[in-house]
Symmetry: C2
Subunit: 225 residues, 2 copies
């Protein structure tokens, strides 16, 4: 029983990996080099895939038309500090990112006869990205089943699995603890230092710290403050 | 008024390009190098984009998980002759191809403030690919508007435009004639010779020849038989 899993190297996708493994899936992990400034996460993804027994790990280089439009992929746009943006969707939004990631996952799933596609999307303690919301994931799932030979012929009914969707960050931390995740292998920061140390001020650092604090767990990679 | 247009270099996407230009769009043309054996189509796409005034033409190299699963991208799988396959969806099907192409188009459209995305999909004289059908295109359009900042904020309601969807190949040929398309610039064959000459036996050659014959138009690139 195979599943394709989007593995960014962050806390959420790492927890997702452990959930998929606990459910008994052979995991085909998929990461992307899309010009993100936090490229350290790709190394973390490699380490996570190896440690937690992914059957295969593929890093796809994405020649990506939206690269020049996000603080995550254009070094000239500063990464905003948590709380500094009045916009509902911040400048770290990357155009069509999850649509692209899921399209790649779908192709790989079909080739491998996998029906389940795991994504660590979360719509509670998240940055407000539209492509993390349940209505987007449902629409993509429907598209996937209309798009593919396997979907149309009924050999595979593709399921977009987002087990963290309705969890708080604290619940995700607790779930990760219960599954034995080594948090030191993960990276969440949007603008980490050269050795991967978190900045401690971006939205992603804020959400991670809030999660650990509320879960009463200490984070081994927490920035000194 | 900008539109992103998927330009394969074939008859359908070339006709689509002329339709978009006739509607007054500044066209951002998008082609893919995804390992297709008929890579000559990329050169044709370049020539078409230049001749018909695309504002920009981008050729994206796609590191594509489904490459080993189609007669179009794996040289060890023969391209079937027209009529030789009993399957509704032939071996030339490429997993999730149009989902990937449209996802890239969506990202580029959002970055450029374009709302219209043109695709030369046809669901009448076609090869039976599921991702050419209207229900797929509608599902993708819905997904696109849920996935993106522009869609959610209502700055752009993305529209997937498939003006050839319900045309016969003969109608497409007539439409192309009326818009002044130079057919010699297009390539439709799945397995062309080294100079781009069509094989004359694949499904795509068959559909093209049928279209020209029924339209009463002579095809300048027709294979000698």
């Amino acid at each position: 029983m195979k599943a394709v899993l989007l593995l960014s190297g962050g806390l959420d996708s790492a927890t997702c990996l452990l959930i998929a493994r606990a459910e008994g899936f052979d995991v085909l992990a998929l990461s992307f080099d899309y010009g993100q400034r936090h490229a350290v996460e790709i190394d973390r993804a490699r380490a996570l895939a190896a440690r937690y027994g992914a059957r295969e790990h593929r890093v796809v280089r994405l020649d990506f038309p939206g690269r020049g439009a996000s603080a995550l992929t254009d070094a000239s746009i500063p990464v905003p500090a948590h709380g500094s943006s009045a916009e509902a969707i911040p400048t770290t939004y990357v155009p069509a990112r999850n649509t692209l990631f899921l399209a790649h996952a779908l192709a790989w799933a079909e080739v491998n006869g996998a029906s389940d596609i795991f994504i660590g999307a979360n719509a509670l303690d998240y940055s407000g990205y539209p492509d993390c919301r349940p209505e987007f994931l449902e629409a993509f799932e429907r598209t996937a089943n209309l798009a593919t030979k396997a979907g149309v012929e009924g050999r595979a009914a593709f399921r977009i699995r987002a087990p963290l969707l309705a969890m708080t960050k604290a619940q995700i931390v607790r779930q990760a603890v219960s599954l034995g995740l080594d948090f030191a292998l993960t990276s969440s920061c949007y603008e980490p230092g050269p050795s991967g140390e978190p900045c401690g001020i971006c939205e992603s650092c804020f959400l991670r710290e809030k999660g650990f604090r509320e879960a009463g767990v200490s984070d081994p990679i927490r920035a000194k403050s």
